[in-house]
Subunit: 368 residues, 2 copies
């Protein structure tokens, strides 16, 4: 895909300039417990045609009393279901968007930012898109299969077979890995992350409980099923969930009208077969990275620059199959300081405008 | 408290009569996977002054790499925070209500019902109340402390010291214990629970992960803190969380304007000291039970009739201290069939009207 995507680039530049100047003036506050008073009022009433929540998928499985952690008899539960909350704006005129969070987080990622501003969930709704926010299978309100943990507790399974519960923590998992700054507690001079609210980012952390269901991850099919139920949607993913829509499209691409991958953990450039690339080439894809990509994460594994380069290789493969991938970094527009958590950055709504512009360009003429 | 609480009783009787007749006509459908199409449209647009989410409380604690389940260095996380989502209606005129779910469930309890009707969260908002729905500490979007599980996995802690992960399951934990019917799969003839949607109740299950923090439960203080942040609220709780507002009021009653306990697991009638009862006597309390209370739960432990009787003893103690407790069963109004999950029952909005009538009677003259 060529780099002269001028509508998108122009919108980003103009929107970000004002925000960047504002952010600089705000300075850095001290950490404080979030409470309701930190939340900034929205600009006008939000008028919804409807809202609510439901589940996609899930299987009924029988479990022993031990596995249920129960004082009662053996019984049956449901596992691998995916929680979905949604808002449909009054007079919704645009394509639905499904938002999926990253590792050791929940759907909260896309709601009110750590410093109390509007998140992408409500903003996209205010921009006439029906929006569906999920909790990944095995996380938060989607629940999880507790059997292995209770079997280990009861001495019925070796402890080392219990799933590892990864949690990204404050100093390295977040600060350096999410590129708030180069060293824990030290921000990049131009960072867009609301530094006074890192404590509230920490509060959002929800450990992964998916365990051995991880491949194939049930969230992949749940997302393609959800897109079908909505009669077509853009899948917007982040970090860990970044590559999920590619898997969802390989399962069933019919409902997937577009894919937005915000700083995907990988694009699996060397994983997909040519046949798979040919399928993925049928869906428009936007991949967006922030700033300071080469900064050491201070964790083992690839840097974000490595991940960007993997997505570049993915773009090249899809381009060769005559697909439509737009890979960019916010820095290309002249704006500096966006972190891995750009849906929470001070200029989060301008980043949203960039994504909305891409969606309009690719799907603007389609009915919702 | 006398039983001639006639406004409340009259409203319940008239509202329920029509609903009970309607529910009888609906019959019982077959179980089916919920999807978006099962959700019934709301009657008109929902106009919100604001909405969003935030956290209350939480402590920063240092953890080892093993405890983080991480490939990286030791680091710091936050535990014991409580997730809160909220909607404030445009022109909100009434006292805020905080809704707290029961065991092995999440805030989803109060949203869209298993068969796709409006839940209490939205209904109370449409009735001019700002509403705050929480996930209990250690559950769903509130996250949890994963340390013990990872220490056990690494052989650093004996497996039997790992928290037990209780999950209420379909046939006994839900069907008989929640009084959908007397035997698994067999409903009470007049049940109000939407039988065609029991599969979707099963999908809502989220195992408890609070572990050793359970007493004193951090949710108790988080609720009194939240009530203060809102400048006064009614705490509405259910089942496991039923008695939490009593603990919250003993910590700090300043923000707690009223307490609604829907089928509390206990009223701790014999637990509280006379001094504590004297404190609790200062807050109006409404305790509501459903039908078939003496039906065997098929689990060890007390029946719901036992729990009702415990609340009766609690009422007597608070009455003696000149308090204001209203304990009732929906059956007293002549309406039959309400289950433990009455916020999901077919007549859930009429049950809500009963609670709203009590709130209006006790707090209707107060400013929000």
């Amino acid at each position: 895909m060529n780099k002269s995507d001028s509508l998108v680039a122009r919108r980003l530049r103009s929107a970000m300039l004002a925000t960047a100047m504002l952010a600089g003036a705000l300075g850095v506050g001290s950490a404080a417990a979030q409470n309701l008073r930190d939340i900034r009022p929205s600009e006008g009433p939000l008028v919804l045609e409807s809202r609510g929540s439901f589940f996609v998928g899930g299987e009924q499985v029988d479990k022993t009393a031990v596995e249920l952690g129960s004082f009662g008899p053996d019984d049956r539960i449901t596992i691998n279901q995916m929680y979905v909350e949604y808002m449909i704006p009054d007079g919704a005129a645009k394509v639905p968007v499904v938002m999926v969070h990253g590792a050791t987080l929940s759907g909260k990622t896309y709601d009110t930012t750590p410093d109390g501003r509007m998140g992408w969930y409500e903003y996209f709704v205010r921009k006439s898109h029906p929006v569906y926010v999920v909790d990944q299978v095995g996380r938060a309100r989607s629940g999880f299969d507790q059997s292995a943990f209770n079997n280990v507790r009861a001495g019925r399974m070796p402890p080392e077979q219990q799933p590892n519960l990864l949690r990204l923590a404050d100093r390295f998992g977040s600060w350096t890995n999410f590129r708030i700054g180069p060293e824990p507690g030290k921000p990049f001079p131009q960072t867009q992350f609301p530094l006074e609210a890192t404590d509230n980012l920490s509060r959002q952390s929800v450990p992964d409980l998916l365990g051995p269901s991880r491949a194939p991850n049930p969230t992949w099919k749940a997302l393609s099923d959800l897109a079908l139920q909505i009669d077509g949607a853009v899948l917007l993913t982040h970090s860990q969930s970044g590559p999920y829509p590619l898997q969802s499209a390989l399962i069933d691409a019919k409902g997937i009208r577009g894919i937005v991958m915000v700083e995907p953990g990988t694009c699996n450039a060397s994983v997909h077969t040519d046949d798979e690339i040919a399928v993925l080439a049928k869906t428009p894809i936007f991949i967006l990275f922030g700033d300071y990509l080469s900064s050491p994460t201070k964790l083992p594994g690839p840097t974000w620059e490595d991940r960007y380069n993997d997505c570049k290789a993915f773009e090249d493969r899809v381009d060769a199959a005559k697909g439509d991938v737009r890979l960019m970094s916010t820095v290309e527009t002249g704006v500096r300081g966006n972190s891995h958590m750009m849906m929470m950055d001070r200029n989060n709504l301008q980043i949203a405008d960039l994504i909305l512009a891409w969606i309009d360009e690719k799907l603007g003429s389609e009915k919702p």
